[in-house]
């Protein structure tokens, strides 16, 4: 791949943001020894890797939907049983965190080490396949580990890390020359969907490239990964009833303002800042139509985009801004867009704008506190606004690049007919 200045600048900016993050975190940690309260992380009063311990707890008795109010899809819960087997979660996950012994610690290390190894391996192979040199591969791996999505993901120990891996595999091999690799890529997208639901939107690339049969195969694999795991849980398919109940109630009552990219929360916060109801009394539900607008705009723009990375961008923005609780770790999926951006052969001014906004969307840099009580920090707004701007840019971009050729084509047809 021919060396591009834009790529160099892109990676350099990501590395610079990573460096700033490391320095800020170190200074903050040294400023308040024994109490690591860096604002970019979750409330320090919660235990570290809370999502990891919590998911293991809710699955330890094989009854996550009746035994707990789980809104996770069943595949991730069945997968989590492997890690849950290392410790006794009978008395709750706080007990395991505080006194789980060697088993709990080993499981946590394995959780991160396996991910880190597979993630690095996949990135290396994909970037090599796309013609990038070793220094670029190394730089991107390091830079991507320090994007907001992955940083927050590590802090929470969220299983969405393991949705990123199959999504990456799909990204890297959906267009492979080998039929079995392509099929495996479709299966991986199905697995990613079974873990987190939203990665299904990456199938947009297949529609974009008019690969309709592969698209339907991805749909089929997604359905299998969504429903087959229910059979491995107590009460089988009856769990669907409770899963939907908790999924809906979680989405509705989860009005968390901090560390959250969702468009509904963003609008509620903005309205509150500009004279609306105070945050404690804000009714997030009045903005419930906007996620659907975002999804429609993002997906349609992505579907008709003129470059591959924009397709992934459209899907990523839809999955990040749509859900009511959409915490920082959902930005992990922007990594696919970033790799596709790097691989884009020709870049113009539009791409430079995307590049700047991408960096702003994922930079884990503390920029100031807005309201510590609600865990609102400046970077959250910068990142959310950057993603919204990317969405509008994508819409304008698609309109500019797609409509004139259609008009021109129709004019030519009319002329020919005449």
């Amino acid at each position: 791949m021919k060396k591009q200045k834009v790529n160099v600048i892109f990676i350099a900016l990501l590395l610079a943001a990573a460096l700033v993050f490391v320095v800020q975190a170190a200074i903050w940690g040294m400023k308040e020894p024994y109490v690591f309260a860096f604002p970019l992380f979750r409330d320090i009063r919660e235990i570290p890797f809370a999502d990891y311990w919590h998911v293991n707890f809710i699955v330890h008795d094989n009854s996550p939907y009746y035994g707990d109010m789980s809104s996770y899809p069943p595949l991730v819960l069945v997968f989590a049983r492997i890690f849950a087997a290392f410790a006794d979660y009978t008395d709750g996950y706080e007990t395991v965190y505080l006194d789980g012994g060697t088993g709990a610690t080993v499981s946590l290390y394995l959780f991160f080490l396996v991910f880190a190894f597979l993630y690095a391996l996949l990135i290396f192979r994909i970037l090599e396949k796309k013609g990038f040199s070793l220094p670029v591969q190394i730089a991107f791996v390091v830079a991507s580990f320090f994007t907001m999505g992955l940083v927050y993901n590590f802090e929470r120990g969220n299983y969405v890390l393991y949705a990123l891996l199959p999504a990456l595999f799909f990204f890297g091999y959906y267009d492979s020359e080998k039929a079995w690799l392509r099929e495996l890529a479709y299966i991986c997208l199905g697995i990613a969907t079974g873990i987190k639901l939203y990665p299904a939107l990456f199938a947009l690339i297949l529609l974009h490239e008019r690969k309709f049969f592969p698209f339907f195969r991805c749909v089929a694999y997604s359905l299998l990964s969504l429903f087959v795991p229910f059979f491995f849980l107590d009460r089988g398919l009856a769990n669907i009833h409770q899963f939907i109940r908790w999924l809906v109630s979680f989405a509705v009552w989860q009005a968390e303002y901090g560390y959250n990219y969702s468009i509904t929360n963003f609008l509620a916060i903005m309205a509150s800042f500009f004279g609306g109801a105070p945050l404690a009394e804000a009714d997030v539900s009045v903005y419930n139509v906007y996620p659907y607008i975002v999804v429609a705009l993002s997906l349609l723009s992505g579907l008709f985009a003129n470059k591959k990375y924009k397709v992934f961008l459209g899907a990523s923005i839809a999955m990040i801004l749509f859900p009511n609780p959409s915490f920082y770790y959902s930005a992990s999926f922007l990594i696919l867009t970033m790799i596709a951006f790097l691989a884009e052969e020709k870049k113009d001014a539009w791409d430079i704008a995307y590049m700047a906004l991408l960096v702003l969307s994922v930079a884990p840099v503390y920029m100031g506190t807005v309201d510590a009580d609600y865990s609102l920090y400046v970077n959250q707004f910068v990142e959310t606004i950057a993603m919204i701007l990317m969405m509008f840019l994508l819409v304008a971009d698609t309109l500019v690049h797609r409509i004139p050729p259609i008009i021109t084509k129709n004019k030519n047809c009319i002329k020919k007919a005449a």
Binding site: F49, D61, S63, Y66, G67, D68, M69, Y97, L98, D99, G100, G101, T102, T105, L108, Y109, F112, L113, A116, F117, A120, F124, R125, E128, L134, I138, V141, V142, F145, F154, E155, D175, S176, E177, A179, R182, E183, Y186, K211, F212, F213, P214, F216, R217, V219, A220, Y221, L223, L224, F227, V228, F230, D234, R235, L237, A238, I240, H241, Q242, I244
Partner: protein, 548 residues
């Protein structure tokens, strides 16, 4: 490979280091393990008494008497003196041994003395011989605090007290179970309990048992002037096994010094869904309860009640006592049968009384037809859900419930599922459930309140007070909603029995409900099946024929 070995190793090291920097989870030390105190000499016993009197309560600990101990010649200070603010709150396990030569002196007769001054915990399998002097005295204990228990003990004590009982004096909140006294006070035969007790159960004494007017409950007790103590208590051990107490030491030579009582009862069946353990008698149920209280959870096991069970003459304790780690994690299918004359009124282990103290599994198709449950907290089926998946489905109760602190018809502090249940009684002044039921659906209550107000964030689904229903409406709802009950609880419809206000009917058959009814209730399962079939069809038809 595209990377040299050195580069790969370096990169792996970088990744590893990066991950380790993020983790840094401390390896936390294990909590200290439990170490019972063992008493094997007079010196140990005196030290133990001193420790309690200095403030060590031994709460949640067990103190074991390793052998017979002779404290002759020692002016013994009661364990947890009456005037001390501290009491023994643990379990004193006599292990079938004897403390003899007990000598407690009080010439002024102003102190309340006994082996224990004020007992707050449990004493069991112990024999005491000696001499106690004082005001209000007992061989085992003078007074109690909280819900103390004295079980399977014998007292051969010479008392010189203004008021003295072989076992104890003022045991107002204590249960005295399977005890024997052959004691004297001021030269005359001493009472088993000289003033009062909450419960005196299956005891024997050479004298009048207790000042009956002061004692709440007395049952199964006899005077044994020249009777056969060992034979009496041999029978008592078997009865107590049915009640759920013990196992205790068997009796030899008028004292509890034999081997631990064993009952080699076994269940018929294999405990599987197709061949469940069969519960056909009170003994079968007692075996289930005692094994759960002994630590078995029966996780994944199935029990099927095949007969109505009559608990006449049995004073039950809960399956899986509340303040223990024990829980029932299997499936108990009442099989459309009932429990009759079910009585539970002990304050054993805090008196949080219900059929199940802790429940993690499923109880279905069971009726509590008659009887009563009294306690600090009283409810019919379960006090607490030890796991959120605990489910009570298609059950009814007509029990008389009374709670000193609180009563609730079906469950008390139960963070599980209560679906398709019914409470019927003439006078009801308590709610259907008390706290935090995550799923309360399709249930009906004879009282005035479904949930204790302000105690749950979850709204009941389709629950009614009987006073709000018209003639015949209850039975119609019970019939019509049964498929929804099955779906909401995740229990198979074909495993449920039709239930009316008069009890259980036939088991559900597919022909009982229309196809449309099944479609509306099982829509999510149908979606799942359709999705899987659709996926299979798509995979078969939509082959990836295109080259990249």
């Amino acid at each position: 490979m595209f990377l040299s070995r050195n580069v790969k190793n370096t990169l792996f090291g970088i990744c590893l280091t990066g991950v380790l920097l993020f983790t840094g989870t401390p390896v936390s030390a294990r909590a200290d393990s439990f170490s019972p105190t063992v008493i094997s000499s007079a010196k140990d016993l005196v030290a133990f008494s001193d420790a309690v009197n200095r403030g060590k309560t031994y709460e949640n600990e067990t103190v074991i008497l390793a052998n017979d101990v002779d404290v002759s010649g020692i002016d013994f200070t009661p364990i947890g003196e009456f005037t001390s603010p501290f009491s023994f709150m643990g379990v004193f396990e006599g292990n079938g041994h004897t403390i003899e030569g007990l000598t407690i002196l009080d010439k002024t007769h102003t102190e309340n003395n006994g082996l224990f001054g004020k007992l707050g915990g449990t004493v069991q399998n112990l024999t005491v011989k000696g001499y106690v002097q004082g005001n209000c005295c007992g061989g085992i204990t003078s007074h109690v605090v909280g819900h103390a228990q004295i079980m399977n003990c014998a007292a051969f004590v010479t008392l010189e007290a203004n008021r003295g009982g072989g076992i104890g004096d003022n045991l107002s909140t204590a249960d005295v179970i399977s005890c024997y006294s052959d004691s004297t006070n001021l030269g005359a035969p001493a009472l088993l309990v000289s003033y009062q007790a909450h419960l005196v159960y299956r005891c024997a004494s050479t004298s009048y048992l207790t000042d009956v007017a002061q004692t709440t409950l007395t049952e199964g007790c006899i005077e044994l002037a020249d009777g056969n103590v060992d034979a009496f208590f041999a029978e008592v051990q078997e009865l107590l096994w049915k009640d759920g107490y013990g196992p205790f030491r068997t009796w030899k030579d008028n004292a509890p010094c034999g081997e631990l009582y064993e009952n080699d009862h076994t269940f018929r069946g294999k405990g599987t869904r197709s061949s469940p353990y069969l519960i056909s008698s009170v003994e079968d149920f007692a075996s289930l309860r005692n094994r759960v209280n002994g630590g078995e959870t029966f996780r994944g096991k199935h029990f099927l009640q095949t007969e109505d069970l009559d608990f006449s003459g049995i004073r039950n304790i809960p399956v899986a006592l509340y303040d223990t780690e024990n829980t029932f994690d299997g499936t108990y299918d009442g099989g459309g049968h009932v429990m009759k004359n079910f009585k539970m009124d002990s304050l054993y282990h805090g008196g949080r009384n219900a059929l199940f103290g802790n429940l993690s599994g499923i109880v279905k198709n069971l009726g509590m037809e008659s009887g009563s449950i009294y306690g600090a907290f009283a409810s019919s089926f379960a006090h607490r859900a030890k796991a959120r998946k605990a489910t009570i489905v298609n059950c009814y109760s007509r029990l008389d419930l009374q709670g000193e602190v609180r009563a609730a018809a079906i469950t008390d502090n139960f963070t599980g599922l209560v679906v398709g249940c019914l409470y019927l009684h003439d006078t009801v002044d308590f709610p259907f459930t008390a706290y935090n039921v995550t799923t309360l659906a399709f249930s009906y209550h004879a009282g005035e309140q479904i949930i204790l107000e302000g105690t749950s964030e979850f709204e009941p689904i389709d629950c009614y007070l009987l006073s709000a229903l018209g003639e015949g409406e209850l039975n119609e709802k019970l019939y019509r909603n049964l498929p929804a009950v099955a779906e909401t609880s995740g229990v198979k419809l074909s495993s449920l029995y039709h239930m009316t206000e008069n009890g259980f009917g036939e088991k559900v058959r597919l022909s009982d409900y229309s196809a449309a009814h099944y479609l509306s209730v099982y829509k999510y399962e149908l979606i799942g099946v359709v999705a899987l079939v659709g996926a299979a069809i798509i995979l078969a038809l939509c082959k990836d024929r295109r080259k990249p």
